[in-house]
């Protein structure tokens, strides 16, 4: 990577207040606790972890849907965390957030053409003809015919709606798209088509993705680098091939060991990890993974490990690496 990264997060934290029946705050639910990472131009960063690890909160903070309670978000060299909404919107137009099913967010009463044109009307001063050219280009990029411009969302299939939703995300020519679980709920045969489309678009437009998913095999195939999250922290971040070939953090190791390998030995014959993640309202002192970790010792139970950079460039938060 050369120069400043496209997106840089430093010590990002987010805590939801926990309130009792009278609305009095009784504690904090730490969804995200000191996350630092970066995404380069055209790079695909996979963010994986199990429910409650904070991966969706992370995506929403970057997109400005949630405010961070601490830390900084730098995008294309500008600080975008905690900006007033209007100023933030201008800086963020090249940073798009894509919901799980982008097709479901289309207005049923608007024709496809109007839905695609709207972001340009709001954010740019392009002429009608120029807008029309951009709409045509975006539609072509996602592989849909021009004839679809005059259809309503209900007149096309679910898969095509998804493509239109994606075309809409592309309208402002973003340099980074946050994809929040873009393939969950899809059948594998359709998932393959959607992933191929993402990959083609990334190459054609030098698009970077933050690809948030719980599906490790998809992330592995698709990402240059991977961040593994556990309970609001990054446990390990590094190159995809490194992490899959030689996971260092005990949590990464357990997570990879849990994925069924068709044709390989059955996971259920040798899977060892016991227990479930603790509730984020009652985190253990020390390392958050210590209660389930096979290598935990007294130090892990008292001292919170900080991320350290290893010789091969990856960052791991564990005392035993």
């Amino acid at each position: 990577m050369s120069g400043a990264p496209l997106l840089e997060l430093i010590g990002l934290a987010h805590a939801f207040p926990i309130r009792n029946a009278f609305g009095v705050r009784t504690g904090w639910h730490k969804a995200l606790d000191g996350v630092s990472l970066h995404v380069g131009e055209g790079e695909i960063l996979g963010v994986v972890g199990e429910s409650g690890c904070g991966k969706s909160t992370l995506g929403k903070i970057i997109a400005g849907i949630l405010p961070p309670s601490a830390g900084s978000v730098r995008f294309e060299g500008n600080e975008i965390a905690d900006l007033p909404p209007r100023a933030g919107a201008a800086l963020r137009s090249r940073l798009q957030y894509c919901y799980q099913d982008p097709g479901a967010s289309l207005d049923p009463r608007w024709k496809i053409g109007r839905a695609l044109e709207e972001p340009l009307v709001v954010h740019t001063k392009l002429s009608r003809a120029e807008r029309r050219r951009r709409v045509d280009a975006a539609l072509e990029a996602v592989g849909l015919p021009q004839a679809h411009l005059d259809l309503y969302p209900h007149e096309i299939s679910g898969g095509q709606q998804r493509r239109v939703g994606l075309a809409r995300v592309l309208m402002l020519r973003p340099s980074l798209i946050i994809l929040d679980e873009p393939t969950s709920g899809l059948d594998v045969s359709v998932q393959a088509t959607v992933l191929n489309l993402f990959a083609t678009l990334s190459k054609a437009h030098t698009l970077a993705y933050m690809f948030i998913s719980h599906d490790l095999s998809v992330v592995r195939l698709f990402s240059h680098r991977i961040a593994v999250m556990y309970l609001g922290r990054v446990a390990e971040i590094g190159d995809t091939t490194q992490i899959f070939a030689d996971p260092k953090h005990p949590y990464t190791q357990s997570l990879l060991a849990a994925v069924p390998q068709i044709g390989g030995p059955r996971v259920t014959d040798h899977f060892k990890l016991e227990g479930e993640p603790p509730h984020p309202d009652a985190l253990p002192p020390g390392c958050r993974f210590a209660p389930r970790c096979p290598r935990a010792d007294a130090r892990c139970r008292s001292e919170d490990p900080q991320g350290r950079t290893l010789a091969d460039g990856r960052e791991v938060a564990c005392h035993h690496v």
């Binding site: 199990e50 849990a258 899977f271």
Partner: protein, 341 residues
């Protein structure tokens, strides 16, 4: 019932759903048989009819569904010929039990786990005699001990305290463990598990699948395991039946299906899986509308090997090898050059 007879035999079952917009033939002559002690996967993508088949066996099809033809024989008994009250008292919840996909939606939020276990045992305890109305104190005590022992068997910590909790106080993995306990407590011969790990995280899924496999072996029950997750099917099943758009495509031992799928759909499904080091191939086209399915083999509009006979005739089952059955006019009969992954 002879010793080598199948425990469950579904023969040429057709089920249709009647809606305002027409009649959807959701199952089209599906056959399937399950041996005692076997875990059989029912695999397919959304809309393939796997849940409808599971519900037909359980006798809980929605009111607008009709069984057009076919038979469901369970332990030598024709389930479709039973009276509703007999099916409810002897079969459903007793000889055939169910593990749902979403355990939270299947608990009542108003009662503790212990109350719900007690209610189950009152009606479905293996000790209960048909027609028994009361619930003696002695049986209640034995049922309670049985339930606590089962909670221990599904590896829930501190079952005595757990039964005083409400479902919302448990985690998703714990709720699914309680559901498994409830499915096994009546000592069933057949457990129908409908996507039981879909809602769970991958490490919890591995724990639950491991647990389920061990318990099933210990209790000697058979399992019909519906899933769209081929990885989960590989983990837990002995055999799989692959379905597409209401038709059965292929039935084989797990090792056979994953290395030598004979049906083009089976092969393309495996090729769609994210695999390291090869291009990702989806299946072009879309799943057909159930109200107007294609004629003949329903996969023919998306199939690279489709010919005139595929459009005209729904293929009969053929067997490329013993225990391998495929419903295709033009199956792949060669061994695959490389395994699916």
């Amino acid at each position: 019932m002879p010793p080598d007879a199948p425990l469950l035999d579904v023969a040429a079952l057709s089920v249709s759903f009647h809606a305002e917009s027409g009649v959807a033939r959701v199952l089209d002559e599906v056959s399937l048989s399950l041996r005692p002690g076997e875990i059989m996967g029912l695999v397919g993508e959304s809309g393939c009819g796997k849940t409808t088949l599971a519900r037909a066996v359980l006798g809980v099809l929605p009111p607008n569904a009709a069984i057009d033809r076919g038979r469901i024989v369970f332990a030598g008994e024709d389930l479709l010929a039973l009276s509703p009250s007999e099916a409810a008292s002897r079969i459903r919840g007793r000889a055939i039990t169910f593990i749902p996909q979403d355990p939270y939606g299947s608990f009542s939020p108003l009662f503790t786990v212990g109350d719900q276990l007690a209610e189950l045992m009152r009606w479905k305890s293996p000790e209960r005699q048909p027609g028994e109305g009361g619930y003696s104190r002695a049986r209640r005590q034995r049922d309670r001990e049985r339930a606590v022992a089962m909670l221990r068997a599904v590896q829930l910590p501190d079952p005595e305290r757990l039964i005083a909790k409400y479902p919302h106080e448990l985690s998703g993995g714990q709720r699914q463990r309680v559901m498994i306990a409830m499915a096994l407590l009546p000592e069933p011969k057949l457990v129908i598990a409908d996507e039981p790990t879909t809602a769970l995280d991958v490490t919890i899924q591995a724990q639950i699948l491991k647990l389920l496999r061990g318990l099933i072996a210990a209790h000697g029950a058979s399992v019909l395991f519906t899933t769209h997750d081929l990885g989960a099917a590989w983990e837990i099943c002995d055999r799989v039946t692959v379905m597409y758009a209401g038709q059965e495509a292929e039935t084989a031992a797990v090792a056979t299906f994953f290395t030598r799928p004979a049906h083009p759909y089976g092969r393309m499904l495996l090729d769609s899986l994210p695999t390291q080091g090869s291009a990702l191939r989806g299946i072009p086209g879309e799943v057909p509308n159930p109200f107007a399915p294609p004629s003949g083999c329903r996969f023919h509009p998306r199939c690279p090997r489709a010919a005139a006979d595929c459009v005209a005739i729904h293929p009969a089952a053929r067997a490329p090898a013993i225990g391998h059955s495929v419903r295709c006019h033009h199956p792949y009969l060669d061994a695959r050059a490389e395994p699916a992954r």
